[in-house]
Amino acid sequence: MTKTVAIIGGGVAGLETAKQLNSLGYSVKLFEKSNTLGGHVAKWDRLFPNKRHASEVVSSLTLSQGNTQTLVGTTVSSIKRQHGNFIISANSNNHEADAVVLATGFELFPAEKKEEYGYGLFENVITSADLEQMFIKHGKPAMASGHKPVRIAFIHCVGSRDEKVNRPYCSKVCCVTAVKQAIEVKEAIPNCEVFCFYMDLRMFGPGYEDLYKEAQSKGVTFIRGRLSESSEIEGGRVQIKAEDTLASTPLKMSVDIVVLMVGMSPQLDTSKLAADLGLSLNADGFIAATDLHTNPTETTTKGVFVTGACTGPNNITDTVNAAKATALDVHNYLSR
């Protein structure tokens, strides 16, 4: 009899795991709480480092699902263990599975928690996700008034490496995302001045450093310093204060748009499911795997696996790799 695997989360991690398990002959049920597949990537315009359209990746994954039963608009409310199997309750229905994969991903750091930056208060303070939506809809950023911006500031590490908001960890991908977006702004509006305020630039992946050099060659200015506060000034522009730590001097400037590079936060819903399944969370609030180095997909509960950004910040490549590894571990478990 074909064994069934329940995958919770229809983002990149869930889709890739489903694809792999499907090809291994398992019956796969994919639960996604929103009405569309692709997670955060589906809301992104283009991807680093090669500016490929995000929709291509999402399409590629969704079109290769084979017999996966995808249940969109379906919120998993609880997962219980019963006679060696799992009962997944979702939208008032129960589903049975032999193994469960949590691929619930992350949520964007709520930028309004950094009250001093003014997100939700000042109309020209936006997040990196908002900027991607502008690129999708209009191909370029615009001020809330509709005017073309002539100066934009990107603020790195918003909700990352920040103990004040209980996010002491690095979200890994925001630096390169800022560099990518800064280049895109310069390409869309060549006369626009673009500034990146950073702590460190963590260009860890292939092609990332090249992207950084490209940004510099296109005139993006990098200032090592963290924003202290922003204020709205006349015309809806934004005054920002920071310290240029390389020049050892405080800095104040006015810009048309401030883009907050929001980090990855643990999904609040995931912690409830984790509690149902007896899983522990790591110090940052993501799900802890059995062994960080040698067994990153298995959990302390037999038959429950984790993959993707629900274990911590990840880029797409690493997420896809993790998903393939998870599928193999699930297969090994169900083949015993």
Binding site: E112, E115, E116, G120, L121, F122, E229, S231, E232
Partner: protein, 357 residues
């Protein structure tokens, strides 16, 4: 500015404030610089709101200024705080209401220290016992006096004779608020509206019908900043900080600056005079300066209290321009008379800022 964003923040930062039976502790500098302001607070609380406010003649300074200038050690300030708490309990009260924002910050810091480091509390109790034979308990509730006025702002507004409305135009007067740094910047959860966008004064301005004006340097220090002012060599930083704020608010042409901290009230007022003398410039368009009031001074004015009885003639920037805009009558002949009608003498007129006498 998206007001709904501000309202969301304001809703997140609310705190419990006692209804009645307050133990009141005064500011040590306020009575020297604006001697009528604390009396105005007590008048509003006792005569208008009919609240029980108790003062002890034995209470002391919190020693906050000494603490922040590293003259008073932390052990000492904790013991002084504990003694004031002991006086409150001995008088049969548990709701502690300091008049000074620096003190409010000190009390908050000490209570937080005792919460996280109980050994500090134990040691303080031993010191207090040894020094005074007293025992103490933490307050049941603690709120700054601007919190108290905020709590009763609608009641006060209902009883008020005046509104923050320009009599000639019918439009709301433009008011900028300045919150003392020690009110919430150290402990945002202890301030109404938090640290970044406090509501404690904005709520009062709204209740009186005024328009709250945000300006870029709203959060910047008033210029008091203890080490800027108490170290004489640093006083240039003090006036430079104030100047930065005035320049930032100038394009919005506010009718009033509203403060909740004795130091801020003083420096926002006095440095306008000093800057006018130094540079021949005021930050309004008519050479009057921008009037500066504390929360209870504003409340008293709206309630129809006599401005000179409240000591508003002690402000360096005349508040007559504000009263003229609202339509509050005043008698200049009474401006420099004492409580018993005695002549206090008229101060020398400044050169570059208009002076009503």
């Amino acid at each position: 500015m998206k007001l709904e964003g501000k309202r969301k923040i304001w809703n997140e930062y609310q705190k419990e404030i006692a209804d009645d039976k307050y133990f009141y502790v005064r500011s040590c500098i306020r009575q020297a610089v604006f001697p009528g302001s604390e009396n105005t607070y007590l008048r509003i609380m006792r005569d208008v709101l009919k609240k029980d406010v108790h003062e002890s003649a034995h209470h002391t300074t919190c020693t906050g200024i000494g603490y922040h200038t590293e003259v008073v050690p932390f052990e000492t300030i904790q013991t002084v705080v504990a003694r004031n708490f002991a006086l409150m309990r001995e008088a049969g009260y548990e709701n502690y209401t300091p008049s000074c924002v620096t003190s409010f910050g000190i009390y908050t810091e000490v209570l937080d220290t005792w919460h996280h480091f109980p050994e500090e509390r134990k040691r303080t109790a031993e010191y207090l016992k040894k020094a005074t034979q007293r025992d103490f308990q933490e307050p049941g509730n603690m709120a700054h006096t601007s919190d108290i006025i905020y709590k009763f702002r609608h009641q006060i507004a209902e009883k008020s004779k005046y509104k923050l409305i320009n009599k000639a135009t019918g439009l709301p007067l433009k008011v900028v608020d300045h919150i003392g740094c020690h009110y919430a910047k150290m402990f945002p959860a202890k301030g109404i509206g938090g640290a970044e966008h406090p509501h404690v004064l904005a709520g009062l301005i709204e209740a009186f019908g005024g328009e709250v004006i945000d300006y870029p340097e709203r959060r910047h220090c008033c210029g008091f900043g203890f080490r800027q002012y108490f170290i004489k060599a640093n006083r240039g930083y003090s006036i430079a900080a104030s100047k930065k704020k005035f320049e930032s608010m100038e394009p919005y042409q506010p009718d009033l600056i509203l403060t909740n901290c004795p130091g801020c009230n003083f420096f926002m007022d006095r440095w306008q005079y000093a800057l006018a003398e130094m540079e021949g410039k005021t930050y309004d368009t008519k050479g009057n300066g921008i009037p500066v009031l504390a929360y209870e001074e504003l409340a008293g004015l709206m309630l129809g209290f006599d401005p000179w009885e409240m000591g508003l003639q002690m402000h360096q920037v005349g508040i007559e321009t504000l009263m003229d805009k609202i339509g509050i009558p005043y008698n200049l002949n009474e401006k420099y008379k004492g409580a018993k009608g005695e002549d206090l003498g008229v101060p020398e007129s400044p050169r570059n800022i208009n002076f009503y006498k």
